[in-house]
Amino acid sequence: MNDWIWPVAAYLGQGLLVTLWISLLTVLLATVLGLLIAALSRSTLSLARLIGRLYVEVFRGVPSLMILLFVFFALPQIGLRTGPLTAAIIGLGLWGGANIGEVFRGALNSIPYRQEQGARALGLSATEALVFVILPQAFRRALPPYVGQLTVLVQASALTSVVGVSDLLGSARQMIERLAYVGAGGSHAIEIYLGVLSIFFVISYSLTALASLIERRLRV
């Protein structure tokens, strides 16, 4: 009897939407933070560089799950109360921002000084050199590791089930528990987890495939 499949699939579909939503917002937040950190790292103000550096070291130095738990359980104690979904997005976004910031910073630094020098010698201002010469090259270099970080963030979204978000993994766990309890021929953990695993794989693989497509188009 396979009549458990459709209700479970429908429920997991809801979870998938939550996962995609968390991933999207996390990626946006992390990308904005990453750009900010890369900009700070190139600032002429040493204090700005220090702040960027500290941020990166702190958030890369602790487990993402730890940040998530801290935002959801610890911050409310000082009055910063958020729902599980918001806590998940903020926690993962802060963590991802540090990693993406490093990707952007590394890409910018990998463009040799000669490029800037060549551009300035032609009469471009510092800003024009950045916009027309440095950033287009840095963008191409950042793309592969950036997409790598995006897949990491999508996968890390599965951690949010720990703070009670009904994402794809959270929904799957709830279904397995319920099936085991109602005794519909066992928990079907193998089938359900394999399904969840396949979905994560397809999302990650699509991102990577998209990246290599863009790479080829841009002549990275």
Binding site: R114, R120, A121, L122, G123, S125, F132, R140
Partner: protein, 249 residues
């Protein structure tokens, strides 16, 4: 070659450059007439590249005066970017933009900064590329070209700005010997067309054949300058003689 007006086209007066406590240019004076080809030679660390860079203000000057076409470049009133458009520079490592085709390397600044119509800048780019013998490479990317071809693109790119003077900083030093000639030939044509040029090089035959004036620098000062044949064949300083004995001049 051409005889310039009474006032020098480019006048460097008592140029001093320091990195911290290390003084790399210790008061250099150099006058350049319009259309003159000045070749600068000297051992590495003599300050010849630094001197070249002061002319397009890539190298900040600690003290001194640079007068180009009657304008004091260090007065603080000059728009650095406008000055650099008048002073073309070509580097040892070409510094082409790898993400752009040859054509776009040439038209980037005219189109984006000078707001020239695309058709106009592309036409001029094609003309200059033909002049350096690369008419068929407009759509290539820099990494598809040999070093000699890349350097010729770099020269054409600098010429796009219609510079009044061109600076060449060891432009053949990174090239395989068989590619040096094609770059030097382009420079010879440019010199014949009346371009004012400052050329830092180790190519003594080029200095002899194309240079109007040869400047020998060492330890941040001009040791000797004069007609290339005179300096190369009858150097008047021991330091020059010593340097030339290590070259095939």
């Amino acid at each position: 070659m051409s005889t310039g007006p009474a006032a020098p086209f480019l006048d460097l007066r008592d140029i001093r450059v320091s990195y911290g406590s290390n003084e790399v240019l210790k008061g250099v004076n150099l006058s350049v007439r319009q259309g003159e080809v000045v070749v600068i030679i000297g051992p590495s660390g003599s300050g010849k590249s630094s001197l070249l860079r002061t002319v397009n203000m890539l190298q900040p000057v600690t003290r001194g005066e640079i007068v180009l076409e009657g304008e004091d470049l260090l007065s603080g009133k000059q728009d650095v970017n406008k000055v650099r458009q008048r002073v073309g520079m070509v580097f040892q490592h070409y510094n082409l933009f790898p993400h752009l085709t040859v054509l776009k390397n040439l038209t980037l600044v005219p189109r984006r900064v000078l707001r020239e119509p695309t058709a106009e800048s592309e036409a001029r780019a094609r003309e200059l590329l033909a002049k350096v013998g690369l008419a068929d490479k407009v759509a290539s990317y820099p990494d598809q070209l040999s070093g000699g071809q890349q350097q010729r693109v770099a020269i054409a790119r600098a010429l796009m700005m219609r510079p009044h003077v061109m600076l060449f900083d060891e432009v053949t030093s990174a090239l395989d010997p068989q590619l040096v000639r094609e770059v030097l030939n382009v420079m010879k044509d440019l010199a014949r067309s009346g371009m004012t040029m400052l050329v830092v090089t180790h190519e003594m035959s080029f200095a002899r054949e194309v240079g109007d004036t040869l400047v020998f620098m060492a330890d941040g000062v001009v040791v000797e300058k004069g007609h290339p044949a005179d300096v190369l064949d009858r150097p008047s300083h021991d330091r020059t003689r010593q340097f030339l004995s290590h070259t095939d001049a």
